[in-house]
Subunit: 191 residues, 2 copies
């Protein structure tokens, strides 16, 4: 048998990883299969040994992104839920996030996802629910937290990052992110 057992799996992961970065940066239509595979140092022909179609890949990428998100990271033991939530917010509402290091698909693909197939939309919905639930869980550990307020909060931070990405004025981006960070802190019991 050729290639080590995990070889294909590794290639698949590499494709998913590259695809995640490319799709979040340029949207579904802004990425070609060729581009994607070249960014993996492969050629387009190999793609179809891993995914049945580009649309299929898109769903898989969004599903996969959940496991590689910051929310999936373990909270260090010496950090309280409250502190951790604050750090997550700091990262989410940061210039680095807007610039595309560890992009959140919820913000980066919000309007892109609307016209995709049901698989992609379901994966997106899942990720969205995951984010809301995570915030609720962290917040509930130290304060009374209304799930309805969390919906408003996540809409705000997702919206903020999505809008920030459209802007060229760095100062305006910072203002927007800071404004939302303050609001979020207030809503979550002063963090």
């Amino acid at each position: 048998m050729p290639y080590s057992k995990q070889h294909k799996q590794q290639t698949r992961e590499k494709i998913l990883h590259s695809a995640f970065n490319l799709f979040t940066a340029k949207g579904f239509d802004g990425v070609t299969v060729n581009q994607l595979m070249q960014s993996c140092k492969l050629t387009r022909g190999a793609f179809y040994a891993h995914f049945t179609s580009k649309a299929d890949l898109y769903s898989e990428v969004i599903k996969h992104s959940a496991s590689s998100s910051k929310l999936a990271e373990l909270k260090p033991d010496d950090v309280t839920d409250k502190q951790w939530l604050g750090e997550l917010l700091d990262g989410y509402l940061s210039i680095e996030h807007v610039n595309g290091t560890t992009p959140c698909p919820l913000a980066f693909l919000a309007t892109d996802i609307v016209t995709r197939d049901i698989g992609a939309r379901l994966a997106y919905a899942n990720a969205y629910q995951g984010m809301n639930q995570a915030v609720i869980n962290f917040a509930n550990s130290y304060t009374e937290c209304d799930p309805r307020q969390v919906l408003a909060l996540t809409a705000m931070i997702i919206g903020a990052v999505a809008i920030a990405r459209t802007m060229d004025d760095q100062q305006a981006i910072i203002s927007l992110l800071n404004a939302c960070r303050s609001e979020a802190g207030l809503k979550l019991g002063g963090i």
Copy 2:
């Protein structure tokens, strides 16, 4: 001279109008010049008598949308600024809006705009500033209003509509819209 003086202008408006609906529904790449012109009962050849390119049209559409937005409508005299702002929020955070009657490009094109040329992005930035300023103006007429809070507010409602459009669960959409409507009301002095 053929055709009445305003004929071309009218056709141009028709194209802009159709393009606005199509682009907000399907994104830039989701619309073909052919589709667009057919929806105007014209053929693609005529397009280039009105716009130099599809990308050019996109900028023009976003610029044009400002003048046809609800914000551009005159506020009736028998309605206070406070009431009017409340009605604008009601409309913005409504199922009808999410379904695409009178779509707001800020929410419908948020991630689509990121990869477009500078003209489109500037037009978007303009519209965004217009929305923030409008909220500030209306709110200031009856309450003290922190511009930073307005940034958080518009991020929230734009985000809410963008996210709502990705969802299939109608009940979840309603919950999201209602949650944001409540929050917005609180932030704007109880409306």
